[in-house]
């Protein structure tokens, strides 16, 4: 301490310091608690999970298991079986697709259930270890074999197919438009030209918007709850995101509504290592099996079917997307 403060009685300085530390800690505690709030209002806890959104245990019990003949020695499938669990790259914050229940710690949703069914098919038990990955690193993790598969609304594109392999598509979805409840000027993507639009970082909306709504200005947020909050706070006039995600958001959030029909077709694939044609064929065979025996439709009905009306759709044909 310089002479400027030394002039004061030192004992008092210590007391002041202690008191201010206490104040600072109390303030820090308040701030830390508050930082949780911005995420919650948009996400409103765990939509769909609880009664609905969780696939029945009976579906897993009835799901098929691969015959030993399908798992040759030295194959990826055999390594997974010996390890006793499937390493899945996925999200923990996508409602109805792959969302972690903060209480039980279990990951539930369409993607998460399919991953567990694939684990059951290979190992005999639905044992999955979900590795939380960012959308930026999926290709790198698959190439490094840090994960066996990626179930993460992973749109099949020819560019991505040069890096990794896609099994499937296992689900087709599309981008749609959501606006605030009181908005009456925007009826679909055609009305977005030249407007400010909220999107999610690293979602297909970032690349689809420039052609679908020329001149629109994007405001990108890292997570879906943040984007919903940004829409409700007027940082953009509309929020463009996957239709099912928007539908589940609108269900728990009376302040927003989905307008118009999906305006793109996004074929979602299961990301795999590119040099493993055997594993890709194996996963495709499994997909064909669970689509034929009705497991796929049951999983869809229990998850996405809780917000999308009209019953389970026809699953997309394996290999129908360019790049799969």
């Amino acid at each position: 301490m310089s002479i400027l403060t030394k002039r004061l009685r030192p004992r008092r300085t210590v007391a002041i310091a202690a008191a201010s530390v206490a104040v600072a800690m109390a303030a820090a505690g308040c701030g830390g608690g508050g930082s949780g709030t911005p995420g919650t209002p948009g996400g409103a806890g765990v939509p769909g999970l609880g009664g609905t959104g969780v696939v029945d245990q009976a579906v897993y019990d009835a799901a098929p298991v691969a015959a030993d003949a399908d798992i040759p020695a030295g194959s990826t499938m055999e390594k997974i079986r010996q390890r006793g669990k499937l390493l899945v790259g996925g999200s923990l914050d996508a409602p109805l697709l792959s969302q972690q229940d903060p209480v039980s710690g279990k990951v539930e949703g369409f993607d998460a259930s399919l991953a567990r069914l694939l684990a059951k098919y290979i190992i005999g038990r639905p044992e999955v270890e979900t590795v939380t990955i960012g959308t930026q690193t999926r290709e790198a993790l698959l190439r490094a074999r840090s994960v066996d598969t990626v179930f993460q609304t992973y749109t099949i594109t020819p560019e991505r197919a040069t890096q990794i392999a896609f099994a499937g598509p296992y689900l087709t979805s599309g981008l749609a438009v959501a606006v605030k409840k009181e908005n009456t000027t925007i009826h679909g993507v055609q009305d977005l030209a030249g407007r400010k639009v909220v999107v999610g970082t690293n979602t297909p909306a970032v690349t689809a918007l420039p052609t679908a709504a020329p001149g629109s200005e994007q405001v990108a947020f890292a997570t879906d709850p943040q984007a919903v909050q940004a829409l409700l706070q007027g940082r953009g006039e509309a929020y463009v995101q996957d239709f099912t995600l928007l539908a589940s958001n609108a269900k728990v959030n009376p302040g927003m509504k989905v307008v118009g029909q999906p305006f793109t077709t996004e074929p979602y694939g299961i990301g795999l290592n590119r040099d493993d044609a055997q594993f890709k064929e194996f996963v495709n065979n499994w997909l064909t099996k669970i689509q034929a025996d009705g497991t796929w439709a049951r999983v869809w009905q229990a998850t996405l079917g809780t917000v999308v009306e009209g019953g389970a759709p026809t699953p997309p044909a394996i290999g129908s997307a360019q790049g799969s």
Binding site: M1, S2, I3, L4, T5, K6, R7, L8, R12, T13, I16, A17, A19, S20, V21, V23, A24, M25, A27, A28, G31, G32, G34, S35, T37, P38, G39, T135, Q136, T137, R138, E139, A140, T157, E159, R160, T162, Q163, I164, T201, N202, T203, P204, V206, T207, V219, A220, F221, A222, Q226, Q229, A230, Q233, G234, R235
Partner: protein, 214 residues
Amino acid sequence: MNPFSGYLTELGHGLVTTVELTVVTTIAALLLGVVVATLRICPVPLLRTVGLVYVEVLQNLPLLALLVLFVFALPQLGITFPLFTSAAIVIAAYEGAYFAEAIRAGINTVGVGQAEAARAIGLTFSQSLRYVILPQAFRAVIQPMGNISIALLMNTSLAAAVGVVELTQTANNVNLVEAQPLLIFTGAGLAYMLLALLIGLVTGRLERRLAIVR
């Protein structure tokens, strides 16, 4: 398409935003740092407490939490800043606490005799600070302040999470189309490294010219 040549305009815009954010924020954080450091050594106990609380609160909260809080909680109270402004304010406030501590460390290196002599010739607190203490204090902590500036540059990448389209966000967007994460993020990393080296070079030069050899 080649991930770099095809997107040079976008990546360039991102880089410019990063540089803008860094420059604006560094200046603001430095000014704030001087003010807070002054508070922490001033003779009024209440103001010293204010300075201490400021530093402890800002240093002990994660920057990302502060950013998210500022961007999403303030509009609930009816105050909405543009995203770039929000990010600049939060990063400046956060790094200001670190600058304040560095400057205070600098002030402590100035000999007690200097302050005593300043007061003895009749300078007021603020005069002795301005003409005697701070000019010497700054010279002692040029390197630490350079390090904080580099940390600040790296921290600007967190602004991507709240919608500021800077270098990291641009790299994300390019990667979304090209699916070449290793290449694109290595490129973005190199750009950050070059900027950091530039800051290091400038502070190194400044230190050689200005440091007091004791």
